[in-house]
């Protein structure tokens, strides 16, 4: 099953091309990388893949839904983690979990238990690491088919890949060369 498919997606602002056209096909269980020249471009590419930002050209599908035409339907199946993570304390984290459970129609208790378990598995680290881990836990409150990680650290990314069942993962990073195709970095083994 194809979780995220991008065809010639790009983003321009005021006539300036920020994200060059890219293609991407990610299936459930796959891991794909989108390298962008600047942090801003990486964040916008992540938002495009998650259906949050509409591409200037091309199209992006999450499951069967085109993100420009059916953004709420597409967002239902994708979890997005911003580069800054979740900037809130444990109380705010619990509130946000309950809010997301309500929005996605998930059982609140199960959502709390899952979020706490994910955070416990990922959250051992400094403050920035914990913020990012909280954001991942929140992104996984619903049963998503794809997880979009905006510039994750190598350490947290390695831990995420150990989850089961593994959704499709798209991660962005700042690098010199954009990669048009998904890179199967690791097969989901021993999950």
């Amino acid at each position: 099953m194809i979780a995220i498919r991008a065809c010639g997606a790009s983003f321009s602002s005021d006539g300036e091309e920020i994200v060059a056209p890219f293609d991407l096909v990610v299936r459930k269980g796959d891991v794909a990388l989108s390298a962008q020249p600047t942090p801003r471009a990486a964040s916008i590419a992540a938002r495009i893949c998650a259906g949050i930002v509409k591409p200037t050209t091309g199209s992006v599908y999450v499951g069967d839904y085109e993100t420009r035409l059916q953004p709420p339907q597409a967002k239902r199946f994708v979890g997005f983690v911003d580069v800054d993570g979740f900037d809130g304390d444990a109380h705010a984290f619990r509130n946000e979990t309950a809010f997301r459970a309500d929005v996605w129609g998930v059982d609140a208790r199960a959502a709390h238990a899952r979020a706490e378990a994910v955070f416990a598995a990922l959250g051992n680290g400094d403050e920035r690491h914990r913020r990012y881990a909280r954001a991942i836990a929140l992104a996984l409150v619903p049963d998503v088919i794809a997880l979009v990680l905006d510039q994750p650290s190598r350490r947290i990314f390695d831990r995420v890949r150990a989850f089961a069942p593994l959704p499709a993962i798209v991660r962005t990073r700042v690098g010199a060369v954009a990669t048009p195709d998904p890179i199967p970095e690791l097969a989901p083994a021993a999950l």
């Binding site: 602002s13 916008i44 967002k75 239902r76 911003d82 929005v103």
Partner: protein, 181 residues
């Protein structure tokens, strides 16, 4: 968030109450409506508030623009009610209690001002200021229609409902089109 919201509410209530206490004898009906509307519009368009509402997490939710608009509008509308309530309290303390119709007019004018001005938080510069101007314009139409002899209040309330409805729709459209880059 809750503590800051309560503090904002209390500060607005006290400041507007003080203004009402000082000027209640000289202000008629029209000026309080304009004052409350203008304060509510500028407060709703405040930049720090705008930065919060633009946070990417809201736009990662599987919500339609109209749903986000309703969710975004609740807190600013409730917070802005401190302005008419503060004015009514300050005026009453001064010994010039407002009638129920005037209080109703202040409240609806405030709500309409907030709903119109909210669209400015997703715009910058002149376009943001334009929405504050439109909000004040909407308040002026409500205040002026209330001056119509006989059924003035009914006309003003009807106008407020229509303006508020379209303002919320426009805010929803703004949110649906907004790209949090």
């Amino acid at each position: 968030m809750g503590r800051r919201f309560a503090l904002d509410f209390a500060m607005q209530f006290v400041i507007v109450g003080f203004i009402a206490y000082v000027f209640a004898l000289t202000f008629g009906t029209l000026i309080p409506v304009l004052l409350c509307g203008a304060l509510a519009a500028t407060n709703a368009a405040e930049r720090a508030h705008a930065a919060e509402l633009r946070h990417v997490s809201f736009f990662a939710m599987p919500l339609f623009g109209r749903q986000l608009a309703r969710a975004h509008a609740i807190a600013p509308v409730l917070g802005a009610l401190a302005i008419p309530l503060g004015y009514a309290t300050g005026s009453a303390v001064r010994g010039v209690p407002l009638g129920a119709q005037t209080i109703a007019l202040l409240i609806v004018a405030t709500i309409v001002a907030v709903l119109v001005a909210l669209s400015s938080v997703f715009r910058d510069g002149l376009r943001a200021a334009l929405y504050v101007g439109i909000a004040i314009g909407a308040v002026v139409t409500i205040a002026l229609s209330a001056l119509v002899p006989e059924h003035g209040l009914e006309i003003a309330l009807t106008l407020a409902v229509v303006e508020g409805f379209f303002a919320l729709r426009a805010f929803g459209e703004t949110l649906a089109r907004y790209d949090p880059v």
